[in-house]
């Protein structure tokens, strides 16, 4: 019991320190500072990576549709929150669009300007999540019967179809066709992102440790045994798919907030691959790993390693080698090294509290000795 208590305290302390650091960053740095940008982007990626991990890591369903669900969330958020006054300019080719209201403004009408807008924004995020969940339900009916790699390719295909629909000019009055959605309200500071994503991740964590989460893991470990032990495969797979998509949808909405503009183009399969590789780096089956890997990945790619692309890195000036694309080349080499030689990723299947657990340390030493 004391171990459990220790773990709880350890986790609480770490999380509190992180949150405090984030608040300090917000108070001392302007919103356009690269540190704030990195935190915002990394938090969004963390949420999506965790949602993908729920499906791929904990339920063993290899789905590559994450970008599609993010797209839905992002569009739902953008379409519903653009201020009425800005509609004419955003939907310049579509006569101001087909949706004559803005949800945050409606909420602002009876909750007051600040509170109402924030509530409206959160509400629209939720709608985005629900829309993604609904779509997951519909897609899941036929697709979830497929086996591993077929499922992957079918979900990938679905995301591509969705993208074509959102760029279709006939839907322009809602989606603005190929043109950007913009001018919608966003959170400038990093703390709201951290709190929001943290909350969502906490919910996913609770789910994973509940009886349903255990059933998901049973399906991952052995489908046949799980079914024989009374776990309804179709129902539980669908449930995992819908829940994962819901959070991917919310992640998409937050991504829209972070980017400030929405287009369908960024939500390509390459985005899904990027998230998948983050999950792999962090460790398939570890929430902490996914979060950690998101921050590492975004921090290095957006900030730390930028020098690799622009001539100078660590004081070495070599424009012939440190030119465009070197950063990503180095990155993909690292990823391949992880995929091939460190298959468990940073965290394996451990979580934050396990780091102080002597049991895991012992095991590790044993493993090392075994080698």
């Amino acid at each position: 019991m004391t171990m459990k208590k220790k773990k709880t305290i350890f986790t609480a302390v770490v999380l509190a320190i992180l949150l405090a650091a984030c608040i300090v960053v917000d108070m001392t740095l302007p919103t356009y500072h690269i540190a704030v940008t990195v935190i915002k982007k990394a938090t969004v990626y963390a949420l999506v990576a965790v949602s993908m991990n729920l499906l791929n890591g904990f339920t063993g369903l290899f789905s590559l549709g994450q970008a599609g669900f993010m797209l839905l969330g992002a569009y739902a958020y953008g379409v519903l929150t653009i201020p009425v006054a800005k509609k004419a300019s955003v939907y310049q080719y579509f006569d101001g669009g087909a949706i004559p209201f803005s949800v945050p403004e409606i909420f602002a009408g009876f909750l007051g300007e600040t509170v109402g807008t924030v509530v409206g924004m959160l509400f629209c995020l939720l709608i985005g999540g629900l829309l993604a969940a609904l779509m997951a339900y519909l897609i899941g009916l036929p697709v979830l019967r497929l086996k591993s790699d077929y499922l992957a390719i079918a979900t990938l295909g679905f995301a591509e179809i969705l993208r074509a629909f959102f760029q279709w000019n006939a839907l322009g009055p809602i989606t603005n066709g190929s043109n950007l959605l913009k001018s919608y309200p966003t959170f400038g500071k990093a703390t709201p992102y951290v709190l929001l994503a943290g909350l969502m991740i906490a919910v996913i964590l609770l789910l994973i440790n509940s009886t349903y989460g255990r059933a998901f893991k049973a399906i991952r470990d052995d489908e046949v045994a799980a079914e024989a032990m009374g776990i309804n495969l179709a129902k539980h797979k669908r449930m995992a798919f819908i829940i994962s998509s819901f959070f991917a949808g919310i992640g998409g909405g937050m991504m829209a907030m972070y980017m400030g503009t929405i287009a369908a183009a960024p939500f390509k399969s390459s985005l899904t691959y990027e998230i998948l590789l983050i999950v792999v780096i962090g460790g398939i089956g570890s929430i902490t790993g996914s979060v950690l890997a998101s921050f590492l990945y975004i921090f290095s790619s957006e900030w730390l390693l930028r020098g690799l692309d622009s001539g100078t890195f660590l004081g070495i000036n070599a424009p012939d080698i440190f030119k465009n694309g070197f950063r990503m080349a180095v990155f993909s080499v690292i990823i391949m090294v992880i995929v091939l030689f460190f298959r468990k990723g940073i965290m394996g299947d451990k979580e934050l509290p396990d780091l102080i657990d002597p049991k895991y340390r012992r095991k590790k030493r044993k493993e090392a000795a075994g080698k």
């Binding site: 789910l207 509940s210 255990r214 893991k217 049973a218 046949v224 024989a228 032990m229």
Partner: protein, 280 residues
């Protein structure tokens, strides 16, 4: 004592042109331990799979506790290919998935151990309790089901105590020795709270001492949990010691049925096991 728990009625399982189980009829009554034996490839595991819903029989029905739970008749291509008997007697299709069968009160183990490898002993058993949980995904996620969860955990602890795995409850299931893994699989099946327990070669790979222990164990749990047990086994010691009745399968067909003594003296059974010389 005479209440029927499981009744397999005219079940035929045909894969393409191969008849794996041919017109199988058997009945198991409450509290019995019944064994299904036969040479390798006789169709024993297939019969299990038909009973538990893994395969849908080509023709025939399965009754559980007086209710018809599985029924099928040849359809599509099978109509022409069907080689079994009782064609046309069954007209309905009733094909529940294995999880539904388990919820009705049948739980099984596997010939080749299928534990959840990344889970601890405790969690392996706890997961099997999932099918008895009444909470929905929301109440479970937000811990509104605390009472149920606590009760289930308590039950699992007690169960592990009974099967003698309490001391290793936090070990990974795969780190257990072979015999204990077998035991854990039985414990997991018990956690699903079955009326009928199906054991697929529970003693496979065990030495005589372990087999004896298992024999005693099976008897124990039958009494303790008021179970009916249906098992497949090759260890004749175990079968003869604990079975109330035995069914013998060869080439998919039932060739004998009776008490252990009757079976031991049945000529067809001996022939099936030892082979018959063509010109004898």
């Amino acid at each position: 004592m005479s209440k029927s728990v499981l009744k397999i009625e005219n079940a035929t399982m045909q894969f393409g042109g191969v008849v794996a189980v041919d017109n199988l009829n058997l009945e198991i009554n409450e509290g019995e331990i019944v064994a299904l034996i036969g040479p390798n490839g006789a169709g024993k595991t297939t019969a299990f799979n038909v009973t538990t819903g893994v395969y849908q029989p080509t023709n025939g029905a399965v009754w559980f506790c007086g209710e018809k739970v599985i029924e099928n008749h040849p359809q599509g291509k099978m109509k022409k290919l069907y080689k079994g008997e009782h064609d046309g007697e069954y007209t309905h299709v009733l094909a529940p998935t294995p999880d539904k069968i388990t919820k009705m009160g049948m739980a099984r183990t596997f010939q080749n151990i299928r534990l959840w490898k990344s889970q601890t002993v405790f969690d392996n058993v706890l997961i099997a309790k999932h099918c008895r949980a009444t909470s929905n995904v929301f109440s479970a996620t937000f811990r509104l089901n605390r009472k149920e969860e606590a009760r289930q955990r308590q039950e699992v602890l007690e169960l592990l105590e009974v099967v003698g795995l309490a001391d290793v409850k936090d070990e990974l299931a795969t780190s257990l020795p072979y015999g204990k893994q077998r035991r854990l699989e039985i414990a997991r099946a018990l956690a699903a709270e079955p009326k009928l327990l199906l054991l697929d070669e529970p003693a496979a790979g065990m030495n005589p001492q372990e087999t004896d222990e298992l024999t005693a164990f099976i008897g124990e749990i039958r009494d303790k949990f008021h179970l009916t047990i249906f098992l497949i086994e090759h260890h004749m010691n175990l079968v003869m010691n604990i079975s109330d009745r035995i069914y013998v399968l060869d080439f998919g067909k039932l060739i004998a049925e009776g008490t252990p003594t009757e079976i031991q003296n049945n000529k067809r059974v001996i022939d099936a096991y030892l082979g018959v010389a063509e010109d004898a």
